[in-house]
């Protein structure tokens, strides 16, 4: 066997391992504690601990920097696998990978590159603080700016929704470049634990995604100049943050839907043993699976196209923005629809908060999808961009 073949086999083993490890975390601590995580709105420490123990936090980082070198499809697979058992575990892991992707693709400074290695070595957890009080959910505008205080750069920002902020080792935050910059002239900065102080002003008690601990924090930090990403945030957002976010969130939602349908299927299987099932629930199940299959295929295609060299789906294009907004919208609506179908199939047993066939938590978690980010906002943006382009949809040929 030549070197090339060995390298491929090693890589294949690594891939197989990451997915296998994800399955084990999902079936193990994620599943075991999902109900408790949801009931008490608490962070899934056990599952995240298992992800760290299995080095899965470094998935998006190239092998050369100490990560697993996972492809976008592998990342989406892992997200979906975890989400079937625990949405909080899946979302936390996914959001962390999104921050990592920003670091890997835009972290052009010694300090940022070194931090990537530290993340992998120590399995550090990264959160995102893009939201800001008073901005109405628009993350492309900031009020807070970097302020020079003597020789120190200071950031002070009120972020109403920092998922698992209290459990993160580092935070990537958006901020106006300086106090005279317009609202959309934003930079992304890395805040490390030692540099920052978080003061909680809003607790998390929500319909679903309860274990994500998406609390509001006043962030106060000293920003090291070499921890400011050189690329403008607008570029980081369109080239990396938005595509990765929409893709991995969609994979989580597909996983939630899959988990719910899996229970519906198990319930019908058990009933079929005892009685003659009338075809109605079977038809509902089949239709729901068809819908889910469409969405999962769309996720897979998006991941492939985005990573393929020479592909037309590139972060800088307005059409790519339309593409990923559409994917997100479809996946979010499908997740809601499919989990509700599962509830309908499972009936009484599905409506209960616990038990083998309970799908209540899945429904509640799925309902976050159309809101995160608001589909109306995305579709409005798409509408404007679609006016701009005259080209008709031609994705099958990917010319």
């Amino acid at each position: 066997m030549g070197n090339g073949e060995m390298a491929t086999e090693f890589q294949a083993t690594k891939v197989h391992n990451a997915i296998e490890e994800a399955h084990e975390v999902a079936r193990g601590p994620a599943a075991e504690h999902a109900e408790d995580v949801d009931r008490h709105s608490r962070f899934p420490v056990e599952a995240v601990g298992a992800l760290k123990a299995r080095r899965l936090l470094g998935a998006a980082v190239p092998v050369s920097l100490g990560g697993l070198g996972s492809s976008l499809i592998e990342l989406a697979s892992i997200a979906m696998i975890l989400a079937q058992e625990c949405s909080a575990t899946a979302m936390t892991w996914s959001m962390h990978q999104i921050q990592l992707a920003c670091l890997c693709r835009h972290g052009h400074s010694r300090a940022l590159a070194r931090y990537i290695q530290r993340v992998c070595e120590n399995q550090l957890l990264l959160a995102s603080a893009t939201s800001e009080v008073g901005m109405g959910g628009d993350i492309r505008k900031s009020k807070a700016s970097l302020v020079l205080d003597g020789d120190k750069l200071i950031l002070e920002k009120r972020s109403p929704s920092v998922s698992y902020g209290a459990y993160a080792d580092g935070i990537l935050a958006t901020v106006r470049r300086n106090s005279s910059s317009p609202p959309n002239d934003q930079v992304l900065v890395l805040l490390r634990a030692d540099d920052m102080e978080l003061k909680r002003f809003a607790e998390w008690d929500a319909l679903g995604m309860r274990g994500t601990c998406t609390e509001g924090f006043l962030l106060r930090a000293r920003v090291q100049p070499d921890c400011i990403f050189p690329d403008p945030f607008e570029r980081i957002a369109s080239q990396t943050m938005v595509p990765f976010s929409h893709l991995l969130w969609s994979a989580c939602w597909a996983g939630i839907a899959n988990g719910a349908l899996s229970r519906a299927r198990a319930l019908l299987r058990e009933r079929a043993r005892k009685e003659n099932l009338n075809s109605l629930p079977l038809v509902s199940l089949a239709k729901a699976y068809a819908r889910l299959q469409s969405t999962v295929t769309a996720i897979k295609q998006a991941a492939e196209l985005f990573e393929r060299p020479g592909s037309r789906v590139l972060g800088d294009l307005w059409s790519t923005s339309v593409y990923f907004n559409s994917l997100k919208e479809t996946a979010s609506e499908t997740a809601v629809r499919v989990t509700l179908d599962a509830l309908s199939i499972c009936g009484f047993a599905g409506y209960l908060e616990s038990g083998r066939f309970s799908v209540s938590r899945y429904v509640r978690d799925a309902l976050s999808a159309p809101l995160m980010i608001g589909n109306d906002r995305l579709m409005s943006s798409n509408g404007t961009l679609l006016l701009a382009s005259k080209q008709e949809f031609d994705l099958l040929s990917d010319r």
Binding site: R140, N184, D316, L317, S389
Partner: protein, 82 residues
Amino acid sequence: MIDEIRSLLRAHAALPVDVDGVEMQDDLYRAGMTSHAAVDVMLALEEHFDIEFPDEMLTRASFSSIANILRAVEELVTNGKR
């Protein structure tokens, strides 16, 4: 042509600053032009110069400076004339 472009930016880019103070290479987004305003600018350019931006040119970079807009418009006007 540069004056026409400045004039269209004045009307559609919704910049918080005076367009005359914006240099050729200055980043328009950093000056305050939002993505939505960029779309308005693009539609106005198409209308005014009777050109059509193909998908590959509908990028952030195409509208990020007066110099880039000029280059794009010149290319499309020339191609249109052929």
